[in-house]
């Protein structure tokens, strides 16, 4: 894969992730039924519910992993790609890129959480957990950002601007 193609692909994936971000956060991720009470939760709804039940540290972990991390990733990816080919703050961009690949996977916590909840929620009317469409969008969004950060290699930050072709 050429560097130009990598750059284009990374841009396309970031754009796709930004679009997917909207349904991922507004559609419910799961529906929990516990002893007759039905409840649909979005990603943010899950955090709020944890917070309301007094589980502040856990709510903070989930909030960081599934709300803050995706936003930080999308913003910094756009910033990196926007400055591609220029020589502005290259060192800082390299650090940001390294940080991105480090934190990227943490957004998957929400998906694994859903998988565990779905597994235990098979007690019929007593307790059931049904996954919803929002989870699909959320997973697609996370995978787009993961792949976008992975396909944009560190050395590309240091490339000289390409001469304009006629």
């Amino acid at each position: 894969m050429t560097d130009q193609l990598r750059y284009e692909l990374s841009k396309a994936l970031t754009a796709a992730a930004i679009i997917l971000y909207i349904p991922a956060n507004f559609l419910p991720v799961m529906t929990i039924t516990i002893t007759g009470q039905v409840e649909s939760l979005t990603v943010m709804g899950g955090v709020v519910e944890l917070y309301d039940t007094g589980l502040v540290p856990v709510a903070a972990v989930v909030f960081l992993a599934s709300v803050v991390v995706p936003v930080v990733k999308l913003v910094s990816l756009s910033w990196l790609l926007n400055l591609h080919g220029s020589d502005i703050s290259q060192l800082r961009r390299m650090k940001v890129h390294a940080f991105l690949t480090r934190i990227g996977t943490w957004a998957m916590v929400d998906l694994f959480l859903l998988s565990i909840l779905v597994a235990v929620g098979q007690l019929g009317i007593l307790a059931s957990v049904q996954s919803e469409v929002g989870a699909l969008f959320f997973a697609a969004m996370i995978i787009c950002t993961l792949y976008a950060a992975d396909v944009y290699k560190t050395h590309m930050i240091w490339q000289q601007p390409l001469p304009k072709s006629q």
Partner: protein, 159 residues
């Protein structure tokens, strides 16, 4: 690199009980449900969310196994100074799978789910969760000690 080999091998061993033991048991009003990693995959698949099931299966079961296998293979080659076949392929596999090895993230999700389920019913920890935690810690240590620059130079020198 010797340390990376040791940690990757021990992570591979702990991966077996981690996948075969239930993580937690959840019960409401006398009915209970045990939960393995694979149960969640099956659940998502049955509910019609096959892509989600596939992602969880890949990143929590397949990727850790292949990542640890290739890390231990490459670091074993380096430690023993032996040029074994498929060394280059194994190294490229470690590079490709690194972002997909999500077992440590799964361990965190286990913690969160126990806390969350505690508000809904009775939850009890099962040995599987400890094995997952052990595997996650060992995997992170293996990554820490795996010198990818050194491995890359060694593998390329083999050509």
């Amino acid at each position: 690199m010797i340390a990376a080999w040791a940690f990757a091998m021990s992570a591979l061993i702990t991966l077996i009980p981690a996948n075969l033991n239930p993580i937690l048991i959840f019960s409401v009003a006398g009915n209970y449900q045990a939960n393995l990693i694979i149960t969640g995959v099956k659940g998502l698949w049955m509910q019609g969310f096959q892509p989600l099931g596939a992602i969880v299966f890949f990143s929590a079961i397949l990727a850790p196994v292949f990542y640890l296998l290739s890390v231990s293979y490459v670091s074993a080659c380096w430690t023993l100074q032996m040029r074994l076949p498929l060394m280059g392929a194994a190294f490229r596999l470690t590079e490709a799978l690194e972002p997909w090895n999500l077992l440590p993230v799964f361990a965190i999700a286990c913690m969160v789910s126990v806390v969350k389920l505690r508000t809904l019913g009775t939850v009890s920890w099962e040995p599987g969760s400890l094995w997952i935690l052990a595997t996650a810690v060992l995997t992170m240590l293996a990554i820490q000690f795996f010198d990818r620059k050194c491995a890359e130079l060694y593998v390329e020198g083999a050509k």
